[in-house]
């Protein structure tokens, strides 16, 4: 229905996006599993978005980009929902005066996946 790809980026971008999503999901799990900051829905949405790269390979790049974008956006929101309490604790200085490296790295990765998937939707195919 969405036709063949007309732009090489329409294949590459979803795949990069997928790879980054999987890496982000796995690192998020590795760093935060068992903690109050770990949100399972966020993890599965990120992982699911990663799996969608397969759709680009079979020619559903437009559809894949859109769904991937929504899943990653949702995942990032659940990620924020899981993290907000930690962020507030750090900001008021109750426990920690600075954010952990894991949090900074994970947040950067989550932000990157969302930014990339947004570009993936907007590129011309």
């Amino acid at each position: 229905m969405f036709g063949l790809r007309s732009n090489p980026l329409s294949l590459v971008m979803p795949l990069i996006c997928s790879a980054l999503s999987v890496v982000t999901a796995l690192l998020y799990r590795e760093w935060f599993i068992g903690s109050a900051e770990f949100n399972e829905i966020a993890f599965y949405l990120m992982l699911g978005a990663g799996a969608l790269g397969i759709l680009a390979i079979i020619g559903l790049g437009d559809f894949a980009a859109s769904v991937q974008f929504l899943m990653l956006l949702g995942g990032s929101m659940f990620y924020i929902y899981g993290m907000y309490y930690y962020v507030s604790i750090v900001l008021v200085g109750i426990d920690l005066q600075s954010f952990s490296t894991a949090f900074i790295a994970c947040s950067a990765l989550v932000g990157s996946t969302v930014a990339l998937s947004t570009l993936n939707v907007l590129i011309k195919r």
Binding site: M1, F2, G3, W31, F32, I33, G34, S35, A36, E37, F38, D62, S66, F69, L70, L73, G74, S76, M77, I80, Y81, Y84, Y85, Y86, I89, V90, V92, G93, I94, D95, L96, Q97, S100, A102, F103, T118, V121, L122, K124
Partner: protein, 979 residues
């Protein structure tokens, strides 16, 4: 068209996602956000025409301006009576501002002093404090502006950061020639301010190579400070006449340097953290307008390494923890979230905390007790507990102690005469020495050579004036806890000695003089009472509760442990030689893990309480009976009242915490807002709609309440009237700011000077902590603000605090760590308590029935409720019912009431405990200022605050836009392919 639809799709997706997330996050924090925005979450509807006086707790003020000014004055008064003059060689102080008023103030703290502490108790919107310059100038001094300007300009380069003390070295200060040249003009005195501060987020660094204090020690001087003191010493006698040191630290800086002739220091004053206006008092103390009368609430060690506590301060992993690590829930590498399962600290010193160690060891060494070992008191202790100088001198006379068998009280009297030349106040300290007997040795009971059992403070006595001080001591204070013998309080046979003294060391010397005929003290200040052994009188209803917290008694302890406690029977053989090794056993691990769930709770056919029975009662009806008498918590009337609530309402009430209690419309229970932090309210007056500031629309609503000096300074006043005044002022602030509870009666012990939260706690001595706090509680609750004593118990360090196992013995728990709590509840009437993050042995404090129920309710008679410390991020939802069953009634977080759904059938025992917890919350609420403005005809209705309405609307609209844009995006995609 396609690109527009894409952009719309992306933009509206983002918008909807953000709105939705914001909705869910804010929905969990409606109370706090509404309070911050001054928007109510409920409204009161009066359905009766009857006019009643519903100001159950009245304010003494008509406007905030007066209240704030009185608070600022009180903050200054606390410092005036609490600052301790440690050293005053050759009467260096006071300085006459008229003849020696040109002074230079050194140290970056001159422009950045410690006003309060860090962490959750830090003032977030502080009132403008009286700074050093203002404080000193208002006392008549002229400050070296060039030096002050130097520090101001370079403040950011020199302030303490992270592990570093920093500050400016002597070469930094003198690198500016204009600054150096100014010294001569302001050479009457060099005042050096040394600052140390930490807070909830960490302990002070000890033996940490990253710290620049000597030996990695944050409470030692660093090289910059030393070079500054050396530089000043070189100029003493030529440029500077006197060198004065101000210790601006709630924690005790190692004091050895004050005796070092290299630094030529003339005078030293301990000022803790100074609060909003304490600096005014400091200036006046230096000028002599105020005669210092504070006495140390903690021992000042020469070096902290002499304190035996330091051998076991910090954490240790169970020796074989790696063997069991796979059995514990996985925790992340994020220290905020980590519940500790395998870390512990052992309070190996037992009761020998602070002066109890120093004085007892000294007593035993001087009296040649076998096994006393090698101990040089003067090498270890710089200034003893209770010590403090004055600008005048006092004589003690006419000492007497009378015992009244009927009341079982000792009345101690002593007359104090001002024998100096200026007016001043004196603190009379009453110490007790219990006999250390063969029974004690056999049953491992430890006795301090001197322990504080009472104190009194004179009025300001003019030269030549006298005042008799009378102190009452309860007979129960003579008993000791016999954990290994009868398992209760035991009055040993032997001679019990009382003395009136100026400090703990003088008391010990008086006892030595009395017992051994030494010329160390004054036997005229000692009275002796012989007692027969009495295992009955003080043991009624009291049994061992904390065997599980004593590794020598804990039933599942490993036989490989090398643990023992210090004993005065063999000082040399029992002193710590490093942290104690303790091993895990499988049974210990099982005990720890069992608390993570509810599998241990039996289900069955236990009857459920009655629910949803209409009795027509509102909460306000439970305030007083028809004659106006308060309804006690054990009245049957409460049963009838509680029958009205539904299971769901109860579940919601006992899961709605986080510095508040929830609203229950059906019974007219208002939501309450509780404050956190012991040194003053930290939020603005107008932030709660419940407060008088908001209700009256006071023009100063945007201001914050005054904040006060560190509680060690309040303790050092040794003045219970000031403590009561402090409590009442906090209560007034609470009335005006809309708080009905105060998470702020900080009663943990200053076991070590390195606990980051020491500024929130009173003293190393349990009696001083408890006596001062009891009066604070009384004052606070007189204004309807419920006192929460915290953090019970065994929370004397920050490192690995969440889940840290604390091993001690029952005598130490009861006589040192729980005694301040007991006094604040029994003598002060504290309504509520907050548990600690730590464990007693392996049992989490909120999961300890012995602590939350048997001790707090059974022994102390506490009537209100127990709240956990911050729940979210630390504890698991599955632990909630375990804590509930132990007697911890409320989590300090908002949790879902659904957690209790599974207990709605087959768990009558859980339902009964839920009802008990709810009743305790309701009892505390109905007796608080939250009921002000509520009459029998008032109905309370929940409303959605305007900000939340706007957010809901925005979320719905963005959701519609998201759907439309997604539809448009799909259609244009199909169109593109179709045509």
């Amino acid at each position: 068209m396609r690109i527009i639809s894409k952009i719309c799709h992306v933009v509206f997706s983002f918008l909807f996602a953000i709105m939705l997330t914001a909705y869910f996050i804010t929905a969990e924090n409606v109370g706090i956000i509404s309070a911050a925005l001054n928007q109510p979450t409920s409204e009161r509807i009066d359905v009766s025409d009857e006019i009643q006086d519903t100001d159950y707790f009245k304010t003494n003020y008509t406007c905030l301006d007066d209240l704030i000014n009185d608070g600022i004055a009180l903050s200054e008064e606390i410092m005036a009576e609490g600052a301790v003059l440690l050293k005053n060689d050759n009467n260096c102080l006071p300085l006459d501002p008229n003849s020696e008023g040109n002074i230079s103030i050194f140290g970056v703290a001159s422009v950045d002093p410690a006003y309060g502490g860090e962490g959750s108790a830090a003032a977030t919107n502080p009132l403008d404090p009286v700074d050093v310059k203002e404080g000193f100038e208002s006392a008549g001094f002229t400050i070296n502006d060039k030096l002050y300007g130097f520090y101001n300009k370079n403040k950011n380069a020199y302030v303490s950061t992270g592990y570093k003390i920093n500050d400016a070295s002597w070469s930094d200060v003198t690198s500016d020639e204009k600054v150096s040249a100014s010294f001569g003009q302001y050479g009457d005195a060099a005042v050096v301010i040394l600052k140390r501060i930490r807070g909830e987020n960490g302990d002070l660094y000890y033996n940490n190579p990253s710290c620049d204090g000597e030996g990695g020690n944050y409470l030692a001087l660093n090289e910059n400070e030393k070079s500054l003191l050396r530089g000043l010493a070189e100029l003493k006698g030529t440029t500077f006449n006197k060198i004065i040191v101000l210790l601006n630290a709630p924690n005790q800086i190692e004091a050895e340097f004050l005796f070092d002739p290299e630094y030529k220091i003339d005078a030293a004053l301990w000022i803790g953290s100074v609060g909003v206006s304490g600096m005014s008092a400091v200036g006046k103390i230096l000028s002599g307008e105020i005669n210092p009368s504070g006495r140390l609430s903690d021992t000042f060690w020469m070096k902290h390494e002499y304190n035996p506590v330091m051998a076991n301060f910090g954490v240790r992993q169970y020796a074989n923890s790696s063997d069991f690590s796979s059995q514990f829930p996985t925790t992340s590498g994020n220290s905020y979230t980590g519940m500790n399962y395998t870390t512990y600290v052992m309070y190996q010193e037992g009761i020998y905390v602070g002066y109890r160690y120093a004085e007892t060891r000294y007593y035993d060494v001087v009296s040649l007790r076998p096994g006393a070992g090698d101990f040089d008191y003067n090498e270890a202790v710089a200034y003893p507990f209770g010590y403090g100088l004055s600008y005048t001198s006092f004589e003690y006379k006419d000492f007497s102690v009378d015992y009244d068998q009927r009341t079982d009280r000792y009345t101690v009297k002593v007359t104090v005469k001002n024998t100096g030349e200026v007016a001043g106040k004196e603190v009379v300290q009453i110490y007790l020495q219990k006999p250390y007997t063969d029974y004690d040795v056999k049953n491992h009971i430890e006795k301090s050579a001197a322990e504080l059992v009472g104190y009194g403070k004179t009025e300001a006595l003019e030269p030549g004036a006298e005042q008799q001080i009378t102190v009452s001591v309860n007979g129960s204070q003579l008993a000791s806890y016999d954990a290994y013998g009868i398992g209760s309080y035991y009055l040993d046979a032997g001679s019990y000695l009382f003395t009136a003294a100026r400090n703990s060391h003088e008391a010990t010397n008086n006892f030595l003089a009395e017992n051994y005929g030494m010329d160390t003290g004054d036997t005229n200040m000692v009275a002796s009472f012989d007692k027969e052994a009495d295992p009955i009188t003080y043991s009624d209803g009291i049994v061992n509760l904390f065997d599980g917290g004593d590794i020598l008694r804990y039933k599942n302890a490993s036989d490989k442990n090398n643990a023992h406690y210090i004993s005065r029977n063999d000082w040399a053989g029992t002193m710590p030689d490093g942290k104690v090794d303790i091993y895990l056993t499988q049974e210990m691990v099982d005990d720890i893990i069992r608390q993570n769930g509810d599998g241990w709770i039996e289900s069955g056919n236990t009857a459920y309480p009655t629910y949803s029975k209409d009795a027509g009662l509102q909460l306000i009806d439970m305030r007083a009976d028809n004659e106006g008498n308060p309804i006690p918590s054990d009245s049957e009337y409460w049963d009838e009242f509680m029958d009205q609530l539904s299971y769901r309402e109860i579940a919601e009430l006992i899961t709605t915490g986080l510095r508040k209690t929830g609203l229950l419309e059906s019974i007219g229970k208002p939501s309450t807002v509780e404050h956190n932090g012991p040194t003053g309210l930290t939020q603005k007056y107008g932030e709660s709609v419940n407060g008088l500031a908001y209700i009256y629309g006071d023009p100063d609503s945007s201001k914050s309440p005054p904040y006060y000096p560190s509680l060690g300074i309040l303790a050092s006043t040794f003045n219970t009237d000031i403590a009561a005044k402090f409590g009442e002022m906090l209560g007034e602030d609470a009335l005006w700011a809309g708080y009905s509870g105060f998470y702020g009666i900080g009663l943990n012990t200053h076991r070590s000077a390195y606990d980051g939260r020491n500024f929130e706690y009173y003293s190393e001595d349990p009696f001083l902590s408890g006596a001062q706090a009891a009066r604070v509680v009384t004052g606070l609750q007189s204004k309807g603000c419920n006192a929460y004593v915290k953090h019970i118990a065994g929370y004397e360090q920050q490192t690995c605090r969440v889940g840290l196992s604390v091993w001690s013995n029952e005598q130490a728990y009861r006589e040192i760590y729980l005694e301040p709590f007991r006094m604040a509840i029994v003598e002060g009437g504290a309504s509520n308590a907050m548990t600690s993050y730590t464990r007693i042995g392996v049992t989490l404090c909120p999961a300890s029935r012995e602590l939350c129920t048997d001790f707090l309710r059974g022994e102390c008679g506490m009537k209100g409720f127990v709240v956990s410390d911050m729940w979210k991020g630390r504890y698991l939802d599955s632990q909630l019912v375990t804590c509930l069953m132990a007697g911890c009634d409320l989590p300090d977080s908002d949790l879902s009431a659904d957690i209790y759904d599974k207990y709605e059938e087959n768990y009558g025992n859980v339902a009964e405990q839920m009802r008990t917890a709810a009743k305790r919350i309701l009892y505390a609420t109905v007796n608080s200022n939250a009921m002000n403005g509520i009459s029998a005809g008032t109905r309370i209705v929940k409303i959605t605050p305007p900000w939340q309405q706007a957010l809901i609307t925005g979320t719905v609209v963005s959701g519609i836009l998201f759907l439309l844009s997604t539809l448009g995006y799909a259609i244009t995609g199909i169109s593109k392919r179709s045509f």
